[in-house]
Symmetry: C2
Subunit: 524 residues, 2 copies
């Protein structure tokens, strides 16, 4: 493979820097050449092979080693691309925005520093996966639940930092974050919140500390490298009852979301609720070829076959009740009565599923925080295994839901893909996540994906919908849509970037934020 170098760094300088990295972490933890292939984007959305290519990777085992690496990086001008576990495959995996960057792989920092059952929290290093934390809790019989995103192999810390969401009442992962340790671009370690008080007893209990509350600055950011983070965990509830409601018609999404809003805002629906479309649920355990052998997206008649075959709807809402049985009974009465207004709605508890019981079983486990990889079944839908997520945020209204659905599914189908999407309802917002599955090895599909994605971003922005998270290849495009008052927010980010990381070492281009020496150039 070619050795990509960052702008302004010669082969000799890089070689010297790598040697110094080896002195910090040991030579077995510096990866170059073929050893750094695992850090490439697993699902590229471009045919330009020079983009998003790391030069190599370095894997520290401690905060002190991170500081050592940052110091060397400053000395030699080497951009570092920190990843917690690098498993965010729909958004670029471990690959950097800027080719030639050294991936700062935090996988080895996988210590579970504390799990407190009485208070419900964990203090973690970034390399801890959902599986690691789950196993730790199970082995000790602690009565705590995780909140997991669909794939359980990712980093608890990394997912929260990327504003990821899950499916229990603790579904807003960053909202459950409490206390951080961060290594700045100059190498200093900072602890936030109560962690800034030596000998404190509340680092993972109280978020705000004294003075500015800065933790959010380090999320979706390149202002520092998070080396420890606290996360709140949900106490095991006295009861749990997952359910599924199916809806027959595409246009039902409008009414369903109107019904959901007051239930969610009023906390009758206690968890981060998701409505998933037909193909997304069907694809978890079946492949497209079983139903359809034609080109392009499935026609309506095939959609109806799938509905009947799998006993699912055009939209499927999975939720869960948590609490003592009388509380669950009361909430369920309200929920069932509310959705009964939708013609053709069908209600299932786990024991009611005769066909495809796995759908609700799978979601039932996710909604109680059991990490899994089942969701990745959808990658086999049409072979090729690539996928990218388009994730605009919208108000929780029926009109917005149908508008989102029509805009996105229309374009996705126009480009020859099946629409696979979900609408996740948070505290006050609707995350529409459209997953586009494509053949990662097909140059033609990559070209189409890239063209399609840019159209989706622009059309959404024109109607006031903005993405909350994105693939490394679209960070600049999306940041550019957040440009109120002549890009005032980005200009502020740039000032903070320059102040905290004057040599621009940490993750150049992350979230569209570039260090001074790479700004306004075509470096991405």
């Amino acid at each position: 493979m070619a050795d990509y170098l960052p702008p302004g760094v010669s082969e000799e300088v890089m070689a010297e820097a790598l040697e110094r990295f080896r002195q910090v972490v040991g030579s077995e933890w510096v990866f170059t050449g073929d050893d750094s292939i695992p850090y490439d984007d697993p699902y590229p959305v471009t045919n330009d092979e020079t983009l998003y290519r790391p030069h190599g990777a370095v894997a520290p085992a401690s905060t002190e080693e991170v500081q050592g690496i940052v110091q060397v990086a400053n000395e030699f001008g080497i951009p570092l691309w920190p990843v917690s576990r690098g498993k965010n495959f729909a958004y670029g995996g471990a690959a950097p925005v800027l080719s030639g960057s050294i991936v700062l792989d935090l996988n080895r920092m996988n210590r579970i520093l504390e799990v407190n059952e009485d208070f419900g929290y964990a203090l973690l290093e970034p390399g801890v996966s959902y599986y690691d934390l789950y196993n730790y809790i199970q082995e000790r019989g602690l009565r705590l639940w995780l909140d997991v995103p669909d794939p359980g192999w990712g980093s608890v810390v990394g997912n929260a930092l990327d504003h990821g969401v899950g499916y229990t009442p603790y579904g807003d992962h960053f909202g459950m974050q409490c206390g951080m340790e961060v290594v700045l671009g100059t190498g200093e370690a900072v602890r936030t919140g109560m962690g800034a008080m030596p000998g404190n007893n509340t680092w993972q209990l109280f978020k705000y500390g004294f003075g500015p509350y800065v933790d959010g600055m380090f999320s979706q950011s390149n202002f520092g490298i998070v080396t420890k983070m606290g996360i709140w965990l949900m106490p095991e509830p006295p009861g749990y009852r997952p359910y599924m409601i199916t809806f027959e018609r595409e246009e039902d999404i409008e009414q369903v979301i109107e019904i959901l809003r007051p239930l969610k805002v009023g906390m009758v629906i206690q968890n981060a609720a998701t409505v998933r479309n037909l193909v997304l649920d069907a694809a978890i355990s079946e492949t497209k070829s079983r139903y359809y052998s034609g080109d392009g997206p499935i026609p309506d008649s095939v959609a109806r076959d799938i509905m009947a075959d799998q006993e699912i709807g055009m939209w499927n809402f999975c939720g869960a009740l948590y609490g003592p049985p009388p509380v669950m009974d009361t909430l369920w009465t309200v929920i069932r009565d509310s959705f009964s207004a939708v013609p053709g709605a069908r209600f299932y508890f786990e024991e009611d599923r005769t066909r495809r019981p796995d759908i609700l079983i799978h979601r039932a486990e996710t909604m109680r925080g059991i990490p899994k990889l089942t969701e990745f079944g959808f990658l086999n839908w049409n072979g090729g295994g690539g996928h990218v997520g388009f994730s605009p945020v919208s108000p929780i209204t029926g009109a917005d839901a149908i508008r989102q659905y029509e805009m996105v599914s229309g374009r996705v189908r126009e480009y020859g893909f099946d629409y696979m999407g979900l609408m996740a309802i948070g505290w006050r917002d609707l995350h529409h996540v459209a997953v586009i599955v494509y053949d990662r090895n097909s140059p033609d599909e990559r070209t189409r994906i890239d063209e399609l994605f840019k159209i989706l971003v622009a059309e959404a922005a024109a109607e006031g919908y903005g993405e909350y998270r994105t693939h490394i290849g679209y960070m600049d495009e999306i940041a550019a849509t957040y440009n109120w008052n002549d890009n005032a927010l980005m200009k502020m980010h740039e000032k903070i970037k320059d102040a905290l990381d004057p040599n621009g070492i940490v993750a150049p281009g992350k979230s569209g934020i570039w260090p001074a020496h790479l700004r306004n150039t075509d470096s991405a």
Copy 2:
């Protein structure tokens, strides 16, 4: 009165700046001399009359006028001390840390820009008080509740920015904040979150936007001036049932807090629960002289007289149930059974109070978000009307509660004051708020308060307890206790301060953060 000037600003320069401020806002909105007396600290904790004295005040009516003032301040080097409504009397009122500052009084920016009933939010300017917002909602019959701190005359925006707390399920005010407009120290206006996308439809619905989540940076901070803020409002629940539980012995606080923790972490207790001590509740409607004419704190025998006379306990827990009746019934059974373990615990709903029904009526209104000023009754306890709040954060454990109580009440009584305190239980932390009421006109009491306060801060820090908020006079002391790793957090704050406000115009000394030209000097 003397005209205090900021360091390095001559009388002539100040006069010219004031003239320019008048051009921005109109001469009737610039206050100097006797007209600026209302901006002094209402409850001084020092006898040094040169401290915390504004030179004057300027009151803009719009974001554009704020920008105009900031521009003039930069030109002339005039420090501005922004206050939303300046009603935070226990923490300094509208007075600045740095004498000679011009108070930037945002009271006139009191527009309620939007209240959305479907989603439960308001978009507000900083001059909007709890009363204003409450009246707006009542006049329109909207089914939304506020979450109010004890005094209702303060600013909704300012309280959230200062990490204030209330008593409904929405008691973490900053946690309910969504979207900001901020004028930086250089005069640019920035909108955060989704507000950075022109034409967006989710500024008050989704907090994080894209990229770094920066809102928290502007809380308890001098990095910018918040000119608009979104806040989530609670939908009116289908049922509400406030209750009071009294406990007879001082030492019961240990057991009470141990019982509270799992109920609170498990969300059985739905609201921000508070346990208040005898004197704090007694003082709301009675004065000390009715019970005791001696010097110093009341003796035990008098405490017992008050308990009997007012039918309250040494500690009194007021909470509330929210939801449909079967949910409330279920939760109440758990709560009542749990606290029945405390010998002598008594349980009251509103109709059960025969003596001093006003205590529960008052708290019942607060716990449903009705703004009031009733709480200020305690200022009359021993005359003189001054009060200052000492507010350390601790874990929610019985051992910490009793330790906090003993440390603080012991010192407070040693200095001749009655202990008036509450323990407010948030998501995972216990805010211990000790209110010390003193005679603001007595130089001796001011001296004692000042000495006492510094001892409390140091003794708490030695045991790992840090304050979450403080009077302007103690910001440096408290910031200095958050000094992990050679003051790394403060050094980071200073870098951000210098980057966003290079001339150090905004609120020098706020939360212990000083601009470069005033750093490491004895300016406070």
